[in-house]
């Protein structure tokens, strides 16, 4: 059972309130595909991923990034129940999508860097620690139903 302090919940909520889910999601997914190009293997049908510019401008990347981060929002509403919240998505990523859970960790770390670049000074060490904890737990919940 994960414990979230009042301060942690506050840090999560206050950052999330200022996040543009569409922009941030698109940015995070684009960076995943740019910084770790082998992750493109899951997106063969996304069209042009041939350069950072192409990836950043790709409408399918943007749309999917938004979808992924919207789902992240669900985690934030259910901090005490992440495994249940992500149960179906976990099965999907294992059985249908065949995604190595290591990729969830990579995307989580990238999301933290995107937030850092966006919030700059305001992304304090306490903020980062809380968000690293959150992305770690989300990655763990998404891997939970793998078999």
């Amino acid at each position: 059972m994960v414990h979230w302090s009042a301060e942690e919940k506050q840090l999560i909520a206050s950052v999330w309130a200022k996040v543009n889910v569409e922009e941030c999601g698109a940015e995070a997914l684009a960076r995943l595909l740019i910084v770790y190009p082998w992750t493109q293997r899951f997106f063969d049908n996304f069209g042009n991923l041939s350069s950072p510019t192409a990836i950043i401008g790709n409408p399918k990347v943007r749309a999917h990034g938004k979808k992924v981060l919207t789902s992240f929002g669900e985690a934030i509403k259910n901090l005490d129940n992440l495994k249940v919240t992500y149960s179906k998505l976990s099965e999907l990523h294992c059985d249908k999508l065949h995604v190595d859970p290591e990729n969830f960790r990579l995307l989580g770390d990238i999301l933290v860097i995107v937030l850092a670049a966006h919030f700059t000074k305001d992304f304090t060490p306490a903020c980062q620690a809380t968000w690293q904890k959150l992305v770690g737990l989300v990655a763990h919940a998404l891997a939970h139903k793998y078999h």
């Binding site: 740019i34 950072p52 933290v112 860097i113 850092a116 670049a117 700059t120 060490p125 980062q128 904890k133």
Partner: protein
């Protein structure tokens, strides 16, 4: 591994760190200790309170060493050879897992907070590759 473009971007980014080695290093270390508490186990002899002289001193040391590596991107193995020995035989920081990855993540967060939009995907990619290369060299002599 590192392209010509990567090397250029890394040198540019590092140019912006010049003069702030202690701040950047201390910030990165503090974030690492805060976000990944097990990393503190390597520093039982340190005062790990925020802003401590030891954290500042060590942070500066780390960033200066990275700066030196950046001046020798074509020969990282040799440039980091002594540090590689140190980490393998004396410090024995776990090479496979987290500490070097965690430091890389925290250093990148510090760069991103300082550079904002200028920490572009291309820069991010170059720095991530560089830190991977450094970690690989430091782990070379472990066994």
């Amino acid at each position: 591994m590192l392209t010509g473009e990567d090397k250029k971007l890394i040198q540019q980014v590092w140019g912006k760190v010049g003069g702030c080695e202690e701040d950047v290093g201390a910030d990165a270390l503090w974030r690492m200790f805060h976000a990944y508490p097990p990393t503190k186990t390597y520093f039982p002899h340190f005062d790990l309170s925020q802003g401590s002289d030891q954290i500042r001193g060590h942070g500066k040391k780390v960033v200066v060493a990275l700066g030196n590596a950046i001046k020798n991107l074509d020969n990282l193995s040799q440039a980091l050879s002594e540090l590689s020995n140190l980490h393998a035989y004396n410090l024995r920081v776990d090479p496979f897992r987290f500490p070097l990855q965690f430091l890389s993540q925290c250093l990148q967060v510090v760069l991103a907070t300082r550079l904002g939009k200028e920490y572009t995907p291309e820069v991010h990619s170059a720095v991530d590759k560089f830190m991977s290369a450094v970690a690989a060299v430091l782990a070379e002599k472990y066994r």
